[in-house]
């Protein structure tokens, strides 16, 4: 079989003030008809740039510096703007990364899909409309007439992504470039979207280049995998071979970073049931307006334990975290932390407890004052919660701040740097240092690794794990990612629509789920093939 798409020695660069910098070096691969090639890599690896180069959609300062992209018998790298317009949409189409910004907010979604048909077919208005209805039906919309007339703002993230898929397949292209088609979607929605792409491939023999950071998705959904690191394709082969027997050290490292493979996940020691309860929540309700965000939840967390609350967006897990950290008051129910009843405490009255309860956010950079350097960020709890007058001198808490940074595995000289100079993982370590600098007993972790690359996330999990052992910390871990939750928790509560549908020891919930929703969530975990060692 001849390849549908052949990329040979592709080198792509971006013009910057410092000159032309290559970000993709000498990348070669082929995609055969009906095949799915997954390009995996971490942020900055050049995977998206590669995908966009194939579509001729590099940003204005991007440029193909060398190599050839051949599609069927056409050399795409030699096309002019007019030639590209013929290829794009008709023969090769894109499913973009972010459904939230990829649709025109002031036009009906049906018309936006129709645009593709208007440009590439001779259908008249009625036929086009019918075809859009067919496409909407195909991507799983039930009420196609209504959705045709809706605006993007009226649709959820998953539905917008389906609209984009509908327009990508409108004229039945031979090749679809899917650039992180499911990042930012809930696990069950991700599964539906990926199933849909799979289904289309089987039905019409379309080839897919799937650009993703998620090895689990790549393992489940591709025939071949290409692993990119620093702009180079370091490993390339059939999916099963790459997963079972990775040749390159980087591929091995990526695979080892997958939550279900983390070494420490298998060496958990059970927390004795007779340890004191440090967080106790009984029949907690929190209502915003008329809408209950949390609707009668009860759970207890023992000292030294990691208790995870897992759920999809809107399940009420973050509201629970806000109540536990005294940022918002419960509507009813009872919350006690370290024996103190905090249910009716406002922000001010909660203050004495802040020494013992800290929080780490999903996006560390947003949680730092943009004017502060690392010292000022980490110092803040010491400064705010001190007793007595403020110590004199410049940077009086320097020793404690340095100690906290070192505990978070950061070098001491980071105190004088600004967070904007740090990488995402380093910033999250600074946030952890800030949470630990006053030696709290309970730490609420609100999606602490969701914004990080998989290998960095693994390091942060390892760090959290070590700190817990050293300091006998109690973690309340909020996450949407079941694979991560399984790797680090002792007990887990599954939330949906503000209620806890199931809770119990992590192994029990994962191996013998009691409710249909938990089963559905577990089914949606990508990359179960990657699991080794855990039965």
């Amino acid at each position: 079989m001849t390849a549908l798409l052949a990329v040979e020695g592709l080198t792509v660069g971006y013009r910057t003030r410092q000159g032309l910098a290559a970000v993709v070096h000498d990348v070669s691969f082929e995609v055969e008809p009906g095949q799915v090639l997954a390009i995996v890599g971490e942020s900055g690896s050049g995977k998206s740039t590669t995908g966009h180069a194939v579509l001729g959609l590099l940003p204005g300062n991007g440029q193909v510096l060398g190599g050839r992209i051949r599609f069927r018998d056409q050399v795409l790298t030699e096309l002019g703007p007019r030639g590209w317009r013929d290829v794009r949409g008709r023969a090769v189409s894109l499913i973009p990364q972010d459904p939230a910004v990829s649709l025109d907010p002031v036009r009906r979604v049906g018309h936006q899909v129709e645009d593709v048909l208007r440009l590439h077919t001779d259908l008249d208005a009625r036929a086009r409309r019918e075809r859009v209805h067919e496409l909407f039906d195909l991507v799983g919309f039930t009420d196609v007439e209504r959705h045709y007339a809706q605006y993007p703002g009226e649709l959820s993230g998953g539905m917008r992504q389906r609209v984009l898929i509908a327009s990508a397949i409108a004229v039945e292209p031979d090749l679809i470039i899917a650039d992180e088609p499911t990042s930012g979607l809930d696990a069950t929605v991700q599964k539906q979207v990926l199933d849909l792409i799979d289904d289309l491939r089987v039905r019409s023999g379309t080839s897919v280049v799937l650009v993703t950071h998620d090895l689990g998705v790549a393992a489940d959904r591709s025939d071949r995998i290409g692993v990119m690191q620093d702009g180079r394709l370091v490993e390339h082969g059939p999916t099963a071979d790459v997963i079972a027997d990775p040749q390159h050290a980087y591929t091995r490292r990526l695979l080892d970073s997958v939550p279900s493979r983390l070494a420490f996940a298998r060496e958990r020691v059970e927390v004795p049931a007779d340890r004191e309860v440090v967080v106790e929540v009984a029949d907690l309700r929190k209502v915003y307006g008329d809408v209950p965000a949390v609707d009668g939840t009860s759970f207890a967390v023992r000292r030294g334990e990691t208790f995870s609350i897992v759920g999809e967006s809107g399940s009420g897990k973050s509201t629970t975290a806000r109540v536990l950290t005294g940022l918002t008051r419960a509507t009813s129910g009872r919350v006690s932390i370290l024996g103190a009843d905090v249910t009716d405490l406002g922000r001010r009255a909660f203050r004495p407890l802040r020494k013992d309860v800290q929080i780490v956010y999903q996006n560390p950079y947003a949680s730092f004052d943009p004017r502060f350097d690392v010292y000022q960020v980490v110092e803040e709890p010491l400064r705010s919660l001190r007793e007595g007058p403020r110590p004199r001198g410049r940077r009086p808490y320097r020793d404690q701040v340095v100690a906290a940074l070192e505990a978070a595995a950061l070098p001491a000289d980071f105190v004088d740097r600004h967070p904007r100079e740090l990488s995402g993982g380093q910033r999250q370590r600074v946030a952890i240092a800030r949470a630990l600098v006053i030696e709290p007993k309970v730490v609420v972790l609100d999606e602490p690794i969701s914004a990080l690359d998989v290998s960095v996330a693994a390091q942060i999990l390892e760090l959290l794990r070590r700190l817990q052992a050293e300091r006998d910390l109690t973690y309340v871990f909020i996450s949407h990612d079941l694979a991560v939750v399984r790797a680090i928790s002792d007990r887990v509560a599954v939330m949906r629509h503000g209620r806890i549908v199931e809770q119990g020891p992590v192994e029990q919930v994962f191996t013998a789920p009691q409710t249909g929703y938990t089963v559905q969530l577990l089914d949606a975990i990508a990359g179960r093939d990657l699991t080794v060692g855990v039965p």
Binding site: Q18, Q358, Y361, A366, P370, P381, L385, R420, E421
Partner: protein, 294 residues
């Protein structure tokens, strides 16, 4: 969003030894920000006029010389003389003090009141926010200059009264801006993080909210400074601001207008000075607020 913080990663520092010499760097700066340098120079010059008028002119701005009245510009009298024989250049230089201090008082009144009201509305929200917000709406619905005239009539004529009147009309704009900035900061994750770090409300306002609102406020200050100069000059032109014989740019234009057909320079020079200063402050303001989207 308007902040002075540059979110881009810091460029790699040039290796030691290759840093260009100071004059070369100054020249590059001039080439990239030429207009800005000129604008800063104009503002610096008129500020110097206001602080040390004696250093720029030897003539007394109110010394009358009937023999030399209405003389055209010359080496002795750079801008010529007025109908009483007073040196016009000297009057423009000395007029800077009244015009600029008037504008400064006006902006100060606007910023202080606006920051206070805006911070209250943004931080506490609820009924207070509604009351302040509707008050601002009412204020903005009245044409600003007419409102300023009304206040001057109530307060009495004079440069200070004119400045306070202009300041009160500027309050509405500052209130809106500060309210929006405080609201943005109040709901930001870093303020929430400061709360969980145990910071008191006062500390949060002082250390996080106000400093982070400052950058965009500063940009508005410079642009409103230019507007205040025009309005105060306009009030003086109408005879509601600076009173004779005190020199003030708006008054100088008013005094010269009887002779505009035959002695055009009497209105031209003060007028051009006002235009130059306002354009300069506008450009500086645009630079301050435009840092983010470049």
């Amino acid at each position: 969003m308007t902040t002075l913080v540059d979110a881009r990663p810091a460029p790699a520092p040039a290796p030691a030894g290759t840093r260009p010499a100071a004059p070369v760097r100054a020249l590059r700066l001039l080439r990239r920000h030429g207009v800005l340098v000129v604008a800063l120079a104009v503002v610096a010059l008129v500020l110097a006029w206001a602080v040390l008028p004696g250093a720029f002119t030897g003539h007394d701005p109110i010394a009358v010389d009937p023999a030399g009245k209405l003389a055209p510009p010359s080496a002795e009298h750079w801008f010529g003389t007025d109908q009483l024989g007073r040196d016009l250049y000297s009057r423009v230089v000395h007029g800077a003090r009244a015009s600029l201090s008037g504008a400064a008082v006006a902006v100060a009144v606007g910023v202080v009141l606006g920051a206070l009201l805006g911070a209250l509305a943004g931080w506490f929200g609820g009924l207070l926010d509604s009351v302040i917000g509707r008050g601002v709406d009412v204020l903005l619905s009245i044409p600003g200059f007419l409102f300023a005239i009304t206040i001057v009539v109530l307060l009495g004529f004079g440069i200070v009264q004119a400045a306070v009147a202009v300041g009160l009309t500027l309050t509405a704009t500052f209130t809106r801006l500060v309210r929006a900035e405080v609201l943005k900061a109040r709901t930001s994750t870093y303020v929430e993080a400061a709360t969980t770090s145990g910071a008191s409300t006062f500390d949060i306002l002082r250390r996080h909210v106000l400093p982070n609102s400052l950058a965009s406020t500063l940009a508005l200050v410079t642009v409103q400074f230019g507007i205040a100069i025009i309005w105060i000059a306009s009030l003086s032109f109408l005879g509601l601001g600076a009173q004779p014989p005190e020199p003030e740019w708006g008054r100088l234009v008013a005094e010269g207008r009887s002779y505009i057909a035959t002695r055009g320079w009497l209105t031209l020079w003060p007028g051009l000075t006002i235009v130059a200063v306002v354009l300069a402050t506008n450009h500086i303001s645009r630079h301050l607020s435009g840092r983010d989207d470049t």
